[in-house]
């Protein structure tokens, strides 16, 4: 099955990228955008989803500073 893993900076952790993008947007005419957070998207094709959590904790995300969310796509 196809799996998407969304990895984001944890709440409360400084996200310099998100902040910098957020501050640049008004200058381009995009007003009213707040709470920009920039993370990563990892696509996986897996046969056994039971170890996904472990996989994310050990490799895909740095759980000290990042949260991850697993989205299993329907076939």
């Amino acid at each position: 099955m196809k799996v998407l893993v969304l990895i984001r900076p944890k709440q409360g952790i400084l996200d310099p990228q998100g902040q910098t993008v957020e501050r640049a947007l008004p200058a381009l005419g995009f007003e009213g955008v707040t709470d920009v957070r920039i993370g990563r998207l990892v696509e996986l094709e897996v046969t056994d989803p039971s170890k996904l959590d472990e996989l994310c904790e050990q490799l895909l995300a740095n759980t000290l500073i990042e949260d991850f969310e697993i989205q299993i796509q329907e076939d």
Partner: protein, 226 residues
């Protein structure tokens, strides 16, 4: 001859570029927030980490007010040189073809490399010979120039590959060993290596000075881009 060097928040090599320009002409810094170029005769978009390289290198800086003025200047044939992050900004802005991806080694790399001048005669290579080898340092994380096959073929055919890494010296895995390219009219040149860090033998090499001195010979506006 007066050369303007753009300064973005996060630029790091703008002062070195300014000093290199000042060795051959008058030079001044152009703050990113200004909407005109103060009447300069040539523009250098320098290296560094504009806006922290956040999102993508050059992605935010290309929208600075000064970049609109640089685009207009380039369209009129004004000579523009993008170095490293400046090259990335010019590619993001569509003033130069291709894009710069993360190095094939996935690490930042700082080393002296040899590059070969493929296209003399641009405003920034007027003092170089075809095939001339220059020793110039690179230092970047995202320097792997990439374009699709059709674009590369077109650039080759039009002589728009300005610099290539010498055989064995490609530090980042760029397509066809490309180190620098130019616009269709030849007045906008971008390269990953840092000629401003090669203007004095005391600090390693003076080969890069030729790019700046070229502007005195070939720095006149070369006409509206075709």
């Amino acid at each position: 001859m007066r050369i303007g060097v753009v300064r973005f928040p996060g630029s790091c090599d703008e002062v070195d570029a300014l000093d290199a320009c000042a060795m051959v002409a008058d030079a001044e810094l152009l703050w990113h927030g200004r909407t005109d170029l103060d009447g300069v005769d040539a523009v250098v978009v320098p290296g560094g980490f504009s806006y922290g390289d956040y999102l993508r290198p050059g992605a935010i800086a290309r929208f600075s007010p000064v970049m609109k003025a640089v685009a207009d200047f380039a369209a009129e044939g004004g000579p523009v040189l993008g170095i490293c992050n400046g090259f990335q900004v010019l590619c993001e802005a569509g003033l130069l073809p291709g894009a710069l991806l993360t190095n094939s080694g996935l690490r930042f790399l700082c080393k002296q490399v040899d590059i070969i001048v493929e296209r003399p005669g641009t405003p920034w290579t007027a003092d170089c010979e075809a095939g001339e080898r220059l020793s110039i340092p690179v230092k970047h994380m995202s320097g792997r120039w990439h374009a699709d096959e059709a674009t590369v073929a077109e650039l080759e055919a039009e002589g728009r590959i300005v610099f290539r890494y010498a055989p064995g010296d490609n530090p980042n895995g760029s397509t066809s060993d490309v180190a620098g390219v130019c616009s269709a009219a030849g007045n906008v040149v971008g390269l990953m290596p840092h000629p401003e860090h090669a203007v004095d033998a005391l600090t390693g090499s003076a080969d890069g000075l030729k790019l700046f001195s070229s502007i005195l010979n070939g720095g006149d506006r070369v006409g509206t881009a075709g």
